[in-house]
């Protein structure tokens, strides 16, 4: 079953056409990579899907239901979680509180004014699960403001994971990580997510990681889909090589 459909998306910023008729289909259970040089429109497409930006033209469907133009919170509550390229943590909280709040957020139950967060047993368990999945369960009580960048990235992923999302969007999960951390994140994505049966749509520059992880790839170039297919097709595709490698054989 096709989980996410983006149909003929157009989006421009003061004349600059960021997306010119992009279509994308993400099958359930697949690991779909969205690749392309900077400015190709990857993040813009992400923002359109998550509702941060409304498309000029085109429609977005999730589980067959149209969500074009829905605001971000409503899209998130459908089980479409996103983790940003630049981790933006909740600095005033501990890790456990941040992830637990994310859980309540996805459930749409943040309008509870009287029951303390720390009494919501189910939520805390889910939060600890998500933290353990990204290897941060030991630091649950530490303050977010004291975390190094690498951990912040993993916390951000945990905040998406805690939603038990149907579709997880990762915007350049490897950006800014050291070689060791990158290898660890790739392992995490391949091993864990398969296990949880999560469908993943992610953007990434590191072609080696993309080829290792993705079972389908869409290549964006100057706001248009240059090519789409399984990793092998993409590797041989002349167009892709020309665009990426500047035409060198």
């Amino acid at each position: 079953m096709t989980l996410l459909v983006a149909e003929n998306i157009y989006r421009s910023f003061q004349g600059f056409m960021a997306l010119a008729g992009v279509s994308l289909r993400v099958e359930e259970g697949s690991f779909h990579a969205l690749v392309g040089p900077n400015g190709a429109g990857k993040t813009t497409l992400f923002n359109v899907i998550t509702g941060r930006l409304a498309p000029d033209r085109g429609r977005v469907f999730f589980q067959g239901r149209e969500i074009t133009g829905w605001p971000t919170p409503r899209v998130a509550r459908l089980g479409l979680a996103v983790s940003f390229q630049r981790a933006q943590p909740f600095v005033s909280m501990t890790l456990l509180e941040a992830v637990a709040l994310a859980r309540v957020g996805y459930q749409g139950k943040t309008f509870q004014l009287f029951t303390p967060l720390r009494h919501l047993v189910e939520v805390l368990e889910e939060a600890r699960w998500a933290l353990s999945k990204v290897g941060l369960d030991g630091a649950a009580q530490r303050r977010v403001s004291e975390l190094p960048l690498g951990d912040l990235k993993r916390l951000d992923v945990a905040m998406a994971l805690v939603a038990r999302p149907k579709l997880l969007l990762l915007d350049e999960p490897l950006a800014g990580l050291s070689r060791a951390e990158r290898r660890q994140m790739v392992e995490f994505i391949r091993g864990l997510l398969r296990q949880e049966g999560v469908t993943l749509l992610f953007t990434e520059h590191d072609t080696e990681a993309v080829l290792a992880l993705a079972d389908r790839i869409t290549v964006l170039h100057q706001g248009q889909v240059l090519a789409e297919g399984i990793p092998e097709e993409i590797r041989q595709n002349a167009e892709v090589r020309k665009a990426f490698l500047g035409g060198a054989a």
Binding site: T50, T72, R74, V91, A98, G105, F111, L113, F114, M159
Partner: protein, 309 residues
């Protein structure tokens, strides 16, 4: 736990205070409640509202008009005051929350001043600048001690509610929106609805403070809606230390006491108050509470809890 201790102490202190001490303590608690209501918006949601006087005044006028013109019994006007000020907050919030930073602050100021002008000009209904007088609650509540306990009860309930709210999912959601609005929205937190509810709660509590102040002062005037009244909430909160849960209440009582004490001594009290505020901003940015905690060196555990960790 510390909260309960403090409230109990205030309750026990009641009978030992002089008549004037009771009046002063009541006003300090009322202004403390008002500053705490402001700090809900300011500290939790990161919104610097300059229009809290609008809700303070609405609550006071609701009580005054209902008791004077509609002959309602005093306590019956309490829910009405909360409702009117919360409704006012809903309307003003609906328009203001879309804006950010200084523009939000300025729009809330504009709305409050509009209400001030209306209260000032609608002579037939609000009595204009003659205000509404003779609002002494009949019977028991007209006496200082029972009224002090009413104020203390209102203050206690509000503070307990705010403490619970701070630890609740809603409180965390507000702080998430303040820390990083985009990330909070990405985890399903709808910023407009959460901030509006926080605005309405803050408005209702400010209305409660206005209701009590009107009864304490036995009169309500357009001045309740004037911008200097909104500034008072900000000054008290920063003087007391906005980073601490009870900071605004400490700041409000200190602000009131300083005005009363310095004013009794010299005609140039604004000068001394100004110098004190200057010192606070430059040397004690964490406010009196930060200063006090620094001095007394409480065990760090308590301090972490006090700052609503």
């Amino acid at each position: 736990m510390r909260l309960a201790l403090l409230l109990a102490a205030l309750a026990l202190l009641g009978p030992f205070m002089s008549e004037y001490g009771l009046k002063l303590a009541s006003e300090a608690l009322i202004l403390g409640l008002y500053a705490m209501a402001f700090n809900l918006l300011f500290r939790q949601a990161g919104l610097l509202s300059f229009g809290q006087a609008a809700f303070f005044g609405l609550g006071a006028y609701a009580m005054a008009l209902l008791t004077q013109k509609a002959e309602w019994p005093f306590l019956a006007t309490l829910p009405a005051s909360l409702l009117v000020s919360a409704l006012g907050a809903l309307i003003i919030g609906f328009f203001s929350i879309r804006l950010t930073r200084i523009y939000f602050t300025m729009l809330t100021l504009a709305f409050a001043q509009l209400l001030y002008a209306i209260a000032h000009k609608w002579y037939a209904f609000t009595g204009g600048d003659n205000g509404i007088t003779d609002l002494r609650p009949p019977g028991l509540l007209g006496e200082s001690l029972p009224f002090y306990y009413l104020v203390l009860l209102a203050f206690a309930l509000a503070v307990i509610f705010l403490a619970a709210l701070e630890g609740s999912p809603f409180g965390y959601a507000l702080r998430a929106l303040r820390d990083n609005r985009a990330r909070a929205e990405a985890v399903g937190i709808d910023s407009f609805r959460h901030l509006l509810l926080a605005f309405v709660i803050s408005g209702g509590l400010s209305g409660l403070a206005g209701f009590l102040q009107g009864a304490l002062q036995r009169s309500v005037f357009p001045d309740y809606l004037f911008w200097t009244r909104s500034a008072e909430a900000i000054l008290s909160t920063i003087l007391g230390g906005s980073g601490f849960f009870l900071g605004p209440a400490v700041g409000a009582s200190a602000f009131l006491l300083l005005r009363v004490v310095v004013q009794a001594k010299t005609e140039y009290w604004p000068f001394f108050l100004g110098v004190l505020l200057l010192l606070m901003v430059l040397f004690f940015p964490r406010g009196l509470t930060g200063l006090a905690l620094g001095l007394i060196k409480w065990p760090t555990e308590v301090r972490r809890d006090a700052s609503g960790g």
